[in-house]
């Protein structure tokens, strides 16, 4: 940056102090706090409702709770511990959600960072076309992929009489869910990571190449370590999207209760013919906890994270 070179040590120091001053103006803070509060009010209403008895939820607004506090833990008790063979307690669904989400975040990220590396740094014909296609695939509504993918998992792929992929016998396990999530995540993940990887300084890559590093060593020694923040921040989003997914889990779980994620259970709680707000409020709150923990623990990666490289300069 040419402007940066102009600044002397002295002006930098005063400048930094001034910067801080303006940025932390009470006006800015107040604005941010107000926005944060407005954003949280609806969720706060849910939290309050989840501690209210059923009758109160149906008959008065959640804000009246403060004038007339009537606390119950019954909703949480019911959601967490009252299980049957049809509806095991929520704890089991927790495990399933984790067992689905962890691989379904790791697999697509690995494949996407591979593909992004290839599209960003390999020189080959049709590169732009492939990148364009991958990007455009974000648009395909995933509902349209459900039937073809299910057929793949249950029957394999056949063209005429030749079997390209046999029936793998994986229906009813997590594997189809992992694969489906991986496929659906690839376009966006590849697109975003590609943006990041193209920002890695060319000199760095070329220097390594001159030193005799092969494409694989280059990836392992330079590209991968540099892209960890980007991967981590995308991982958070992928984790959230998979954790909150209902459709893929429902479809590719093949109806097996033993592997259904939390959202499937939550959707069922609405009851056969609706109603049951009190259980839903508590259930919804429980399902938010894990994503929030993930967000808090990986938050620092956002600082350098996703697309950090896409700043011009």
């Amino acid at each position: 940056m040419t402007t940066a070179e102009k600044t002397t040590l002295g002006t930098t120091r005063t400048g930094r102090a001034k910067v801080k001053n303006v940025f932390t103006s009470p006006w800015a803070s107040a604005m941010a706090i107000v926005l944060a509060i407005v954003w949280t009010i609806p969720t706060f209403g849910l939290l309050v409702s989840s501690f209210r008895p059923q009758k109160d939820i149906n008959s008065s607004g959640w804000w009246t709770f403060f004038a007339n506090p009537n606390v119950t833990l019954e909703n949480y008790q019911q959601v967490l511990f009252e299980g049957t063979s049809v509806t095991p307690p929520l704890s089991q669904y927790f495990f399933n959600s984790l067992a689905i989400t962890i691989p379904a975040a790791l697999f697509p990220l690995t494949l996407a960072v591979f593909a992004a590396y290839a599209l960003a740094w390999f020189e080959f014909k049709g590169k732009n076309f492939i990148f364009f296609t991958v990007f455009a695939l974000q648009v395909v509504p995933l509902q349209m992929s459900l039937i073809p993918l299910l057929q793949l998992f249950s029957q394999g792929i056949k063209i005429g009489d030749t079997t390209l992929i046999p029936d793998l016998g994986i229906t009813g396990t997590y594997i189809p869910i992992w694969i489906a999530h991986t496929i659906f995540a690839l376009p966006l993940a590849t697109f975003l990571l590609h943006n990041f990887l193209t920002q890695i300084p060319r000199e760095l890559v070329e220097a390594a190449r001159v030193d005799g590093a092969g494409w694989f060593t280059l990836f392992r020694r330079i590209i991968f370590p540099l892209s960890i923040p980007a991967i981590a921040s995308f991982a958070i989003f992928q984790f959230l999207w998979v954790w909150n997914d209902l459709l893929v889990g429902l479809t590719f779980g093949g109806g097996a209760k033993d592997i259904a994620p939390l959202t499937v259970r939550l959707a069922e709680m609405v009851g056969t013919r609706g109603g049951g707000w009190e259980v839903l409020t508590a259930g919804a709150f429980i399902s938010i906890i894990v994503p929030l923990i993930v967000f808090f623990s990986l938050q620092r990666y956002f600082v350098r994270g996703l697309l950090a490289g896409s700043v011009k300069g």
């Binding site: 149906n58 069922e268 609706g274």
Partner: protein, 457 residues
């Protein structure tokens, strides 16, 4: 398997099963004949299940719209069957059943048994070629235990596929006997009396005559179709109703115009229902709540709303004679044009198979028997059109009335929207009824739009 022998065994076992159920119900009775019912079930009760033996260690998936807590009662009703036959039944309920079933069938992961809430969907699934026609013993059992009408709903193009499971009766007006008694209102027996009573309530009390809610997420409007159907069955003949369902008369036929304009006398009258447009955004569950807290006098809804009002709104289901209970609710028959005109509208579920395995057939067969129907009904909140269902096992007074209607009604018709093509029955009919109240769309415009949406063939 010899079906004749099976049936004899099954009939012989009826008495035992029924007595077991009754013993389980009447806890006060000192029964020494069945010692420790549940523990002994494994050995003594098992003769009743001889017909389904030979499938130990197998599993059957039942896919359905029915989720907890109702699903738990189904599982409970299977326990003995499972213990005796060694067949494990996996009940898989999902709210997304209607969308997911076609996907699973096309994707090659069809369930063993599916519980169809609409015959229309059954027909669409039969068209995929993936369904298995009901085995002879299932067909025979249904022929004995159900009326021809019910067997007919599970039949597509002359082939019988799906056996009836649960049922509901829709021709009910829910009300609070206490509110009625306190105000001195009499139960109307004709449509005109019903309108007159509504006017009286509007004029003389601060209670709103009707509470109506069409809201049901993406299915918003189905309550409106039920109103239309129930009135159609009264203002037109049953034959006309059938022609309407099969599109032998147009959707904007004069007979249908009459029905919607009669419905409008209540649904579009602000004096009776309050803010008409709000009907569209009031959920059908909330719609019924008004009769529990006394803010409304009447609520036309199927038998099942009782369970919801009891569960979520602290209502108690009572008999019409019981006029003292605060929050007590019950039903009167949705009146016909004349007092002796008593057609009934209802709905139900049907169990069809996608797998041709003996254990699947065994489960499908068992579900058609009066033994299972009685056992299931005894657990509460449920009934079916099974002719062998003993009303003594149906504790809920409203459901008991419903069972009598199912077994005795001279004119019973199935929910029309469930029989119509999905583009109408799960599409334009819902949407247009919603627009009818929400946007005050005219009767003619509503019917014309539905007629236009009817699929070409």
């Amino acid at each position: 398997m010899s079906t004749i022998r099976n049936r004899v065994v099954a009939l012989g076992a009826t008495a035992i099963a029924a007595s077991l159920v009754l013993a389980g119900c009447a806890a006060t009775e000192e029964t020494t004949t069945e010692e420790t019912t549940s523990a002994a079930a494994g050995s003594t009760g098992c003769e009743a299940y001889a017909a389904y033996m030979g499938n130990e260690g197998s599993e059957v998936e039942i896919y359905s719209t029915i989720v907890s807590p109702e699903a738990d009662l189904f599982m409970e009703s299977f326990v003995e069957f499972e213990d005796c036959t060694g067949i494990t039944i996996n009940w898989n309920g999902s709210q997304e059943f209607e969308a997911q079933l076609p996907v699973r069938v096309a994707g090659g992961t069809a369930p063993d048994l599916a519980v169809f809430p609409q015959p229309g969907l059954l027909a669409a699934m039969v068209a995929t070629g993936q369904m298995v026609a009901a085995p002879t013993d299932v067909a025979d059992s249904v022929a004995v235990n159900y009326t021809a009408d019910w067997k007919n709903y599970g039949t597509v193009d002359g082939v019988f596929y799906a056996a009836p499971l649960g049922a509901n009766v829709k021709s009910f007006v829910w009300y609070s006997p206490k509110t009625f008694a306190d105000n001195g209102w009499a139960i109307p027996t004709t449509w005109d009396e019903l309108l007159a009573l509504s006017q009286t309530i509007a004029d003389t009390s601060d209670v709103q005559p009707w509470c109506v809610g069409f809201g049901s997420g993406e299915a918003t409007g189905w309550v409106g179709t039920d109103w239309m159907e129930d009135i159609m069955l009264r203002t037109a003949s049953a034959e006309t109703y059938d022609k309407w369902v099969s599109h032998d008369i147009a959707f904007n036929d004069p007979a249908v115009v009459t029905a919607i304009s009669e419905a409008g006398k209540i649904l579009k009258n602000p004096e009776f229902v309050g803010d008409v447009a709000s009907i569209a955004t009031t959920t059908f569950q909330d719609g019924g709540a008004g009769i529990v807290d006394g803010s409304c006098a009447m609520h036309r809804q199927a038998s099942f709303i009782g369970g919801i009002l009891a569960g979520d709104y602290a209502a108690t289901i009572v008999t019409p004679e019981d006029t003292t209970v605060e929050g007590g609710i019950t039903t009167f028959y949705f009146p016909g044009v004349s007092a002796d005109n008593k057609p009934a509208l209802g709905g139900g579920e049907f169990v069809g198979a996608f797998a041709d395995r003996p254990e699947v057939a065994a489960v499908q067969h068992y579900l058609t028997t009066p033994e299972w129907a009685n056992a299931k009904a005894a657990l509460g909140g449920w009934f079916s059109a099974n002719l062998g269902l003993d009303t003594a096992n149906v504790a809920d007074p409203v459901n008991a009335v419903a069972v009598e209607i199912l077994q005795n009604a001279t004119t019973f018709r199935f929910d029309a929207s469930d029989l119509m093509p999905a583009a109408v029955g799960a599409g334009s009919f819902w949407k247009e009824m919603t627009a009818w109240v929400a946007e005050d769309k005219s009767d003619a415009a509503v019917l014309d739009a539905i007629e236009a949406s009817w699929p070409a063939n």
